[in-house]
Subunit: 330 residues, 2 copies
């Protein structure tokens, strides 16, 4: 599926994810970067390569026809629910929407906006949701008599770090989600255990206190926070701001999706996807860019409206032709 013209990508939102997209597009010979849109003043923005114009968001309406697909790099909480449908009305989009509880609602809003305008959107792209989701669906389809386990980490959870920072007395903080090795081993053994949340993951918090805050009170407020921490073994370590910056700003992450099941009378089968990312946002960006390619193809096939990774065949993600893929990778 070689394209005659490069796919013109625009980045909407220029934080870690947006910079990752800029770097990923530079590695794709079938793509060019048409624009970077930001909420910040365009003049204040230093891009990685400086080879695409930077505009403020307001310029987007008048420039949509310069772009084949918008890669939405805003946050799932504040930005995407508002920006997503607006952008889907202007062109094809891909995004990494990851608020699981609101996916159905977001999908509907994107589907409606994209259909009305004749555009194609792929939502919730990245490694989880995204690559891990694909593996969960394949695992269930291939081993219907089985159980699926997802382990995350060790890596920083933004949602849990945000929750930490909302605790009274906390000036700053970082939360690592840590998979429990013994649980992974149990799953690998084929035992198909039933786990409570605390049996699968541990939560490690590094917290900087505000002046005069009481360490014990902060600790207690964190470990008892419903949903986020109370169901887990949570370890809170008080550090100073310098230590937090020096030791806890890394963006590594990882995880496993394991499908453990049986076939025939009693044959154990295990499919395990493991991921180790030294930069979580850059991995998500790289996956977004491959799905941007797929979004353009879906659009050319006449598939308008919202889609998820479940609607995208593997070959549509590659810049190689089907014939070449069969020769090289089948």
């Amino acid at each position: 599926m070689i394209m005659n013209q490069p796919i013109r990508i625009a980045i909407v939102g220029y934080g870690n994810l947006g910079r990752g997209v800029e770097a990923a597009v530079a590695r794709c010979p079938d793509m060019s970067l048409s624009a970077i849109y930001s909420r910040r003043p365009a003049a204040s923005i230093q891009t990685l390569f400086g080879n695409a114009p930077v505009y403020e968001m307001e310029a987007l309406n008048g420039r949509a026809n310069e772009t084949d697909v918008f890669v939405l790099c805003g946050g799932s909480k504040e930005d995407l629910p508002r920006q997503g449908p607006q952008l889907a009305a202007l062109g094809n989009t891909v995004d990494s929407f990851d608020t699981h509880a609101r996916i159905a609602e977001y999908f509907s809003a994107m589907d409606e906006a994209a259909r009305a305008a004749g555009h194609t959107s792929i939502i919730s792209v990245g490694w989880d949701p995204g690559l891990f989701s694909i593996h969960r669906v394949l695992g269930e389809a291939f081993l219907p008599d089985g159980d699926t386990y997802t382990f995350w980490g060790k890596g920083v959870s933004q949602g849990h770090s945000d929750a930490l920072r909302r605790v009274e007395g906390v000036a700053d903080g970082v939360q690592y989600t840590v998979p429990i090795e013994r649980a992974i081993e149990q799953v690998r053994s084929g035992a198909r255990p039933r786990f409570s949340p605390r049996q699968m993951h541990r939560r490690e918090c590094f917290v900087v206190l505000k002046d005069g805050a009481n360490a014990d009170a902060v600790r207690q407020a964190i470990v008892s926070m419903p949903h986020y921490f109370d169901e887990y073994e949570t370890v809170v370590t008080i550090v100073d701001a310098r230590t937090l910056d020096a030791e806890h700003r890394g963006m590594a992450h990882g995880g496993f999706v394991i499908r453990s099941g049986r076939t025939g009378s009693d044959h154990e089968q295990r499919l395990e996807l493991g991921l180790s990312a030294s930069s979580n946002p850059e991995l998500t960006s790289s996956i977004l860019v491959a799905y941007a390619r797929a979004a353009v193809r879906l659009h050319r096939m006449g598939k308008i409206g919202a889609h998820s990774v479940f609607d995208v065949a593997p070959g549509w993600l590659s810049l190689k032709s089907n014939e070449q893929l069969r020769a090289e990778w089948l």
Copy 2:
């Protein structure tokens, strides 16, 4: 994508793979088994569940309209190149054709036969080719600056075992492909090594001699066999027939596909798919059955001709609706 009528599956070829398909269909509430076709006399065949009629191959022509998709369970070397196009002319098919060097030729023959008759075929389905192939394409699409490594085993290679048994003086034999642990560790380290074949896999052969055969001559003939063994560290162990049957008839297999790459300036990323199967043919069968479901869907979408796993979106493999998949697995 709930179907109103069960998908009617027919098994063509009733060996290990065929029996695995019979067991896998029984686990799929959206499928029914319409027939089992075999080259052996129908009366001589004892099926697992006895709930589908058994016919000899000759009956197939007159009964094709009782089936929505034929699952071809013959061998890649002798059976599929001949049977595949014949069956594709009669109905939709899935198969596990795995002779890599002849995939392009087989794809063409299947595509021509299926197109002429308005049917849909999915070729080369299973774990490798199949699931591993998908992971190789995703890995390259997500991490274009990277290297892909496939390790197989420990498990029996049929092709290499067949090669063993053709050696003069060999009465029977089994060959295990064994991945070299140190090589896997090097890949996981992010070093992106270049390997020769012998650095990735070792070959362990268990051989029963014919009466009067010379053990040293047999050993020498095996380890020097071009392509199959000469490029590897090959260990030949002479055993008696009873030991071979007691200890080397297991069907476990496994392997890894690892994509190791970089994003941004220098961030290492690793995507690793691991598989552990206690029954290699049953895992392949279970995957074939999921793709049988996809073949029927492709056909209903009007996608006729031959396809590979690269043309099949993950959601088409599942009996669940897209909405349900998004709610449960995204």
